[in-house]
Each structure stands twice: as structure tokens, then as C-alpha cells.
Amino acid sequence: MDNVIKVEEVSKIYKLGQIGSGTLGQDVQLYIDRLRGKEHVAASENDEDIHIALQDVSFDVKDGQAMGIIGKNGAGKSTLLKILSRITAPTSGRIKIKGRIASLLEVGTGFHPDLSGKENIYLNGAILGMSKAEVKSKFDEIVEFSGVSKFIETPVKRYSSGMYVRLAFAVAAHLEPEILIVDEVLAVGDADFQKKCLGKMKDVSNNQGRTVLFVSHNMEAVKNLCSQVVLLEKGKLVEIGNPTTVINTYFRRNTNYFSHVNYDAANAPGNEKIALRSADIEIANGEVLEITTGFVINFEFDLKCDFEEFNYSLNVFSVTGQHIFNSQSHSFKASKGKLRAGCIIPPDLMNNGDYTISILAVSKESICIYNFESVLRFEIFDNRKSDKWFGEIGGAVRPKLDWKIG
């Protein structure tokens, strides 16, 4: 199969801070060089002065392939897309393309608020590269897909944000480029809309045999839509291969954030009765904290006196401060000295997200001995297997419960 996109050693370097190389003489020289079409050489290679957004990235995309591009924020994904969309030029390297490219970096580009939906369809279509005749032939389809036919003659500034986004995507969805580039358009809009977008992209890729380049953080969508995935990290291409492998690499290299703490006697938080010496998280199997993995939260305390009735109270919070749940241990007799405890969190209870833990030492189930706040932080990844729903599944917890059907 032929290559339709060939990215060759593409780099993009941004100068930080001041615009221009600093002196007028150098600026003029750079300008003349640029006029003659010479490649731009960065005036200064100082670490502090430059930001390397992309470094020697090379890969090929074959005809009809759906290629995903993943990476943490700041890895260079959007920069790569901007270069592919000719919005900015690479600092070095080149990209060879066969076929017409259409990019969806944002929906509703060029929509003018005072023009009606109909007028904007024509304008937006033309901006995206469709001819007037093309737009005309697809007009009815577009209006139907958007679901705003009743309001098509009203100025778009009167549209709700949902209508706006639906109309914008409807136009973009009916482009017929050979190569379609999509940048997290799915991040906007409601559940229905996201489903429609993905459905359309799948249709474009599988049924119409067009090439699709898809940038997203939504691993489920990427796994479902793409046959090959590229992983970018700090501007470099780290891996390219089949979705499952590359996505696992991504998770492994960006292991869920979870902390361990260790305090020596002098710095241990607590009071004259109890002090926390260490806490960590132990994952039952595998290396990654996912919804389906159970894990144990281990604590080690120094108890400075005896307690007849002693128990723990564990509180889990989301990083936004929402109280997720509380769990209390049974009461037991605790003696002065080292105290170890572990709280076992079962699989299929937690929802994905970022969390913090606080733990209280309690006496007689009512008196707070000490509240150790924000002891640990951890992140749980979503690893659901569904290929039908890609949106967020909300809720403080996501327990797997038994269902009685029928």
C-alpha cells in the first residue's frame, strides 16, 4: 500500500521570550536568508532560550489507515498537527503528502456570528476547502446531520453552544478530503455528539477508505478507531505500532502518579500520641493502577501510648475536594510502639481519576487522636473494554454490582 504521508525528520523549535534574534543585523540576515528560501537556522541554541516542540520526528502513514497520535500534554501532538495543516512551518525536516488534507483543529472555524446558519455553512465549507458546488450538493445532508434545520436561517449568535458545535461538525464531517486530521474535537459537546463524531470518523475511515490522523487523550476511542498509534513524548517519537502495545507503553512511561511517603522520627507528622512514619500503595497485580486492579494502602505509625479502643478512619477525596468515601476499621487494643495497618481496596470499586487519602487515628470510635491529612495521592486509569461508549463515566465510585434482570 502506498504512503500518503511521509514525515521526515521534522523538528520545530520555538524561541522563548523576546521576538526576534536580538539584534537588528541578525534579524536582517535571517530575513534575507528566509527570502531566498534557505532553511532557518536557530540563532541561538541556548537551553533557556528555546523550546523544542518536536525533534526529528519521522513516520509514514499508509493510504486508508487510521493513525492515532498520543502523548501527554506538551508532547508535541498539536504542534505536529499544526505543521501538517500548514498553519505553521517546521524548523527543519519535511513532510510529503499525497492528496487533499482537511484539518479539524476546532469546530466552527470562521463562523461569523451575524450570518445565518445557512450562510455559515457555505462560508465554513469554503474555508475548509470545499467549492460552492460541493457545499450545495451536500447542503441538505449537512443540515439534517446537524439537527438544526428549524433554525437554519437564524444568525448563529442566537444558537445554543450545542447547536453551534453540531452545525460546525456537520460541515466538517461532510468534507471529502483524502486525508482527515482530527484534534480532540471530541472534547467538546455532549455524549450524543461525541458518539456521532466518532461514528462519522469510523465511517470515513473504514467505509470510505480515507486516511485519518487522530489526536486524542481518550485511549478507548484511539484503540477503537486506529490501526496504528504513534506515541510522542517531549517532542520525540517514542514508539509506533499497534494500539494496545503503544497505549500500554504510554501508561507504563507515565505510571499513574502515586506517592510514597517516608518520615524520620524528627519530621514525622502527628502529635504526642501518634506519628506517621510511612505510607505507600501496593498494587495487587500488574504495575498500573486501574479500575479493575485491587490495591492495598499501607501505613506505619509510631504509637506513643496505649489505647484500649483504637480504630482507623480512612477518607478518600478527589483532588477537587469531593469526599468519595469513608471506611472505618474495627476497634482493637493498641499498644505503644510500631503500628502497621493496611486498607484493602477491592477491584471494581473506584472510578478513574485523581485521589488523595486522609487517615484518622480514633479512640473509642469517637475521639480523634490525630487526623493525618493528604497523606498520599494516586491516580487510577480507566481500562474498560467497551467499544461503544467513549465519554466520561461519572460518579464518585464505579462499583461492579450484581444485577437481577427479568
Partner: protein, 280 residues
């Protein structure tokens, strides 16, 4: 294995292309977009306004009235031409030039959002500006006609009227050229847009709009002749009313100047086009 010959590829994205080339076939492919931009400029600008497109007419008429009063107070000559016509013709010609300049100079800054999201040939925006200004010029030209008829006894329109399209083209080149240069510079130095704004307002006085070129003598006349717009406004006026000061040399000067400035403008614009999103 696919062939590596450049002929195989539809396009190659490289760090820089020569700024001397214009991709005409690409511009032609986007001609519908140019038309829609023109339509957008005309329609959208007047939605929900009281006076709508009559603004095109109000500006020259009011300006003519102001010049008329000022001119008679200051006893400025109008070369034997009925004052209203004298000022109106100058204003209409100058308006075309200045609006091409000011609107084009705002291309990058004014469109940075849309330029940052989608690719389309950036030159389509200045081109659509020139065309919508042409429509505006057409409307203003139509207002001149009733006055020409009213004053037909005292004026001598002549065959130079056939030269008017050339004048319009040269004014467009000049406005576009300067505008493109400024727009390329504004990606780095934003305050240039303000400079251009009032610069153009002042430049009116350096051009024979409120006064005829014939009123200037000696060194003032030579200074005014350095202004490449001078000959064009003078010949425009001459064609319609029969009075104006110009020569083959001054016209040639204006023609060459406008072509050269247009080329410089296009080069400046092209060279900024690729990387302006990094600095704008």
C-alpha cells in the same frame, strides 16, 4: 515501494519556500472563498445597523461638506471646478486607496484566530478586501454622476475617462502593496496598525485632495510630486471634470511605484505567512 520522485506527491511541507512565488492555482481553487469573504464583508457588516450600506454614501458626502466649508473659509482654490465636484472626486479616489491600505494592513492581526486553526491561502483575505473595496468604490462613483450632470455646464469630461480603470487598478496595487508590507510587520510590531491609521489620515493633506496640485508652486510642487498617489488622483479628477495637473512622467512614476510596491508587499506577506503564527 512507492516512488520518491517529487512528482508523486501532491505537496511537500518544508521549512521555508521562496517568498517570490505565488501559488496561483491554489488561489484559483479558493475563488469561492474569496467571493464568500466579500459577501461576508458586505452583508455581515450591516446586519442590525440602522443605516446599513448607505454608510458607503454618507462618508464621502459628509466629508465633501466639511471640505467645502473649510475650503471656502480658507479660500482654497478648486482650480475653477465647482467645489463640490472637486472635493467629491478627490475623496472617492482617495477612499479607495486608503481603505485598501488600512483594511489589508490588518490581515494577520485581525484574522489570527481563523488563521491559527485552518489552512487556506492567506492572500485570499487581501484579495477579497480589494474586491469589496471595489464595490464600495463603485457605489461612491455612482454618487458622483448626478453631480456631474448637474454641473455639466462648467465641466469638461473627456476621453481620459477610459483611463479610469487603469487608475483604479494602480490605486489598488499601491494600497495593497503598502497594506501587505504593514500587515507583515504587524505580526511582530502590533502598534503599526495605529500608526497606519493616523498616518493615512495625515497623508490626505500630502495629496491634492483638498487643494489642487496647481496651487502648489516651486519646491512644494516637487515635494508633492514625490507622492505617487498624486498623479493618480489628479488624472482621475481630470477625466471627470477636465481640470488636473499631471504629466506622462508623473503617471509613469506612479505606475512603476505601484507595481514595485505591490511586489515588495507580496514578498513581505509571503515570507511572514509561514511562521507568523509563531509570533503574532
Amino acid at each position: 515501494m512507492s516512488a520518491e520522485a517529487k512528482g508523486e506527491w501532491t505537496q511537500v511541507i518544508e521549512p521555508t519556500e521562496s517568498a517570490f512565488r505565488i501559488n496561483f492555482s491554489e488561489l484559483w481553487r479558493y475563488r469561492d472563498l474569496v467571493a464568500l469573504f466579500v459577501r461576508r464583508d458586505f452583508i455581515a457588516a450591516y446586519k442590525q445597523t440602522v443605516l446599513g450600506p448607505t454608510w458607503h454614501i454618507i462618508q464621502p458626502i459628509f466629508t465633501t461638506m466639511v471640505y467645502y466649508f473649510f475650503g471656502s473659509i480658507a479660500k482654497l482654490s478648486t482650480d475653477g471646478v465647482p467645489s463640490v465636484l472637486f472635493y467629491l472626486t478627490g475623496i472617492v479616489a482617495w477612499n479607495y486607496f486608503s481603505s485598501c491600505l488600512t483594511k489589508t494592513s490588518n490581515t494577520f492581526v485581525g484574522n489570527s484566530t481563523i488563521f491559527g486553526k485552518v489552512f487556506f491561502p492567506r492572500l485570499t483575505v487581501p484579495i477579497s478586501t480589494v474586491i469589496s473595496n471595489l464595490l464600495s468604490f463603485g457605489i461612491q462613483f455612482l454618487i458622483i454622476i448626478p453631480f456631474l450632470i448637474y454641473f455639466r455646464g462648467s465641466i469638461h469630461p473627456n476621453l481620459y475617462i477610459l483611463f479610469i480603470p487603469v487608475v483604479v487598478v494602480l490605486l489598488a496595487f499601491m494600497g495593497l502593496g503598502f497594506g501587505l508590507i504593514v500587515s507583515a510587520l504587524t505580526t511582530r510590531y502590533r502598534d503599526l496598525t495605529y500608526l497606519v491609521g493616523f498616518g493615512v489620515q495625515l497623508a490626505v493633506y500630502a495629496t491634492p485632495i483638498i487643494y489642487p496640485l496647481s496651487m502648489l508652486k516651486g519646491k512644494w510642487r516637487s515635494l508633492a510630486s514625490f507622492n505617487p498617489v498624486t498623479a493618480l488622483t489628479e488624472v482621475f479628477r481630470y477625466a471627470l471634470v477636465g481640470k488636473g495637473t499631471f504629466s506622462a512622467e508623473s503617471l509613469t512614476y506612479s505606475a512603476i511605484f505601484s507595481v514595485v510596491i505591490l511586489c515588495i508587499g507580496i514578498i513581505a506577506f509571503n515570507s511572514s505567512e509561514k511562521t507568523f503564527m509563531d509570533t503574532v
